[in-house]
């Protein structure tokens, strides 16, 4: 199983592990990205996620297929939240099951890293002082040749 999904409703993370269960797997690991209350020195009150869903689902599926071809895993799932999120909400969930833990950890890491770098998803931060801004869009004033490969500011 290799699936990438978007959800406009809060993620039902308790349901996801069983979608990855199978008798050939000896291990399972998951990564959750949470909304935290600060970024780059500013107090954050809430986040807003937007995505180009049609392309995002395709690119997400390609990322998971790449993970499957690089690491001997049995199943992987990534669900990304869209819409308005408050502090502590789950923004993204990645889970992988595999025969052995090492592949599960490495594939999970690969998927979240690539999703952050490549999937057409955008995040707007709302700050305590009333300002807001699209992450990676508004504070990169100088045009750079490879903006898409810059380290992302909002690592969880």
């Amino acid at each position: 199983m290799a699936i990438f999904e978007f959800s406009h409703a809060p993620l039902t993370v308790a349901d996801y592990p069983r979608r990855l269960a199978n008798v050939a797997s000896g291990g399972f690991c998951a990564f959750e990205g949470w909304v935290r209350n600060h970024n780059e020195g500013l107090a954050v009150t809430r986040l807003e996620y937007q995505a180009f869903e049609l392309l995002g689902v395709r690119e997400g599926a390609r990322i998971i297929e790449e993970a499957r071809s690089r690491f001997p895993i049995n199943a992987a799932l990534c669900v990304h939240r869209l819409g308005d999120l408050g502090i502590g909400d789950v923004a993204v969930w990645v889970g992988v099951s595999a025969a052995h833990r090492d592949e599960a950890f490495r594939a999970c890491r690969y998927i979240i890293d690539e999703v952050k770098h490549r999937a057409p998803i955008w995040k707007k931060e709302h700050y305590v002082n009333g300002d807001s801004g699209w992450v990676n869009c508004e504070r990169c004033a100088a045009p750079a040749a490879h903006t898409h490969e810059h380290a992302h500011a909002h690592d969880h």
């Binding site: 952050k116 057409p120 998803i121 995040k123 990676n136 990169c140 898409h148």
Partner: protein, 279 residues
């Protein structure tokens, strides 16, 4: 004559006003660098590509032997000086790669009008009568003068030609030496070069994130004669206060990542993709 005539296609510019690499732009169905090399090749013994040190590994600049700018030099004059230092006995036909209207008639006129007794042969600008330094032949004898000019801090090849004996010709085609520096000029040049393709198309554009805020809408259906996604974005930059430059964006056509130079077709759905921030 025993000394060779080499071609030097200049691809070391920073393309800062174009906001995307001018050497890779396509006007004629191939990169403009490759097109320039192919146009020049019949007139010279060998074509070289002039690059900055940090462009050595660029695959788009790897199809011909390279002349790498010498350390400490910048601009087109750096390319010329570096080429002359590499092959001191050669004459160099220097050619910019941002001249989409350049044609064989112009190259033939320069080849036939070449004066070996001058330091260089160049065209008179159709705009101001000054020498056009970036489609010109620099004789081997000019290398000492170029080196001296550069050592004195000179950076402008046009000024260099003005200060030294240069044989000036009239270009047979007034637009042949027009260089194209901005997305707006690129869009206009594409339409002049391809009038048949400049028919009006209906394109659906979707906006996301910062572009959505700045366009004030999530999508729209546009009638446009823009031939490529790059030309369409240049058109929209005139209409909306976009702060992201083209080279900070990617583009998707019909929900797949696409090249900026891909031709648009009637009914296409275009999305400009700002820097992403998922997770």
């Amino acid at each position: 004559m025993s000394e060779p005539l080499y071609g030097l296609v200049l691809a070391g510019g920073r393309s800062s006003r174009m906001q995307s690499d001018k050497a890779r732009l396509q006007y004629h169905g191939e990169s403009q660098l490759e097109h320039s090399c192919r146009l020049l090749a019949p007139y010279v013994d060998q074509v070289f590509v002039s690059v900055r040190d940090d462009q050595r590994g660029d695959p788009a600049r790897a199809s011909r032997p390279q002349v790498v700018d010498q350390p400490g030099l910048a601009g087109p004059i750096a390319g010329i000086a570096s080429a002359q230092a590499l092959h001191p006995g050669a004459a160099w036909w220097v050619l910019a790669c941002d001249l989409p209207f350049l044609d064989q008639a112009t190259l033939s006129a320069l080849a036939q009008g070449r004066s070996r007794s001058a330091l260089a042969t160049a065209f008179r600008s159709a705009h101001d009568g000054e020498p056009e330094p970036l489609c010109a032949i620099y004789e081997p004898r000019s290398s000492a003068a170029v080196a001296q000019y550069v050592a004195d801090g000179g950076q402008c090849p046009r000024k260099f030609l003005r200060l030294h004996p240069t044989h000036l010709l009239t270009a047979p085609n007034a637009r042949a030496l027009d260089n194209i520096n901005t997305p707006q000029e690129y869009a206009a040049a594409m339409q002049d070069l391809n009038p048949a393709a400049a028919t009006t198309k209906s394109i659906r554009v979707q906006y996301f994130a910062l572009l959505r805020d700045q366009a004030g809408r999530s999508h729209e259906q546009l009638a446009t004669s823009a031939r490529t996604a790059a030309a369409l974005f240049a058109e929209l930059q005139q209409r909306y206060p976009f702060t992201l430059a083209m080279d900070q964006l990617r583009v998707a056509i019909n929900a797949e990542f696409a090249e900026w130079t891909q031709d648009l077709r009637d009914g296409d759905e275009v999305v400009f993709i700002p820097p992403v921030a998922g997770g």
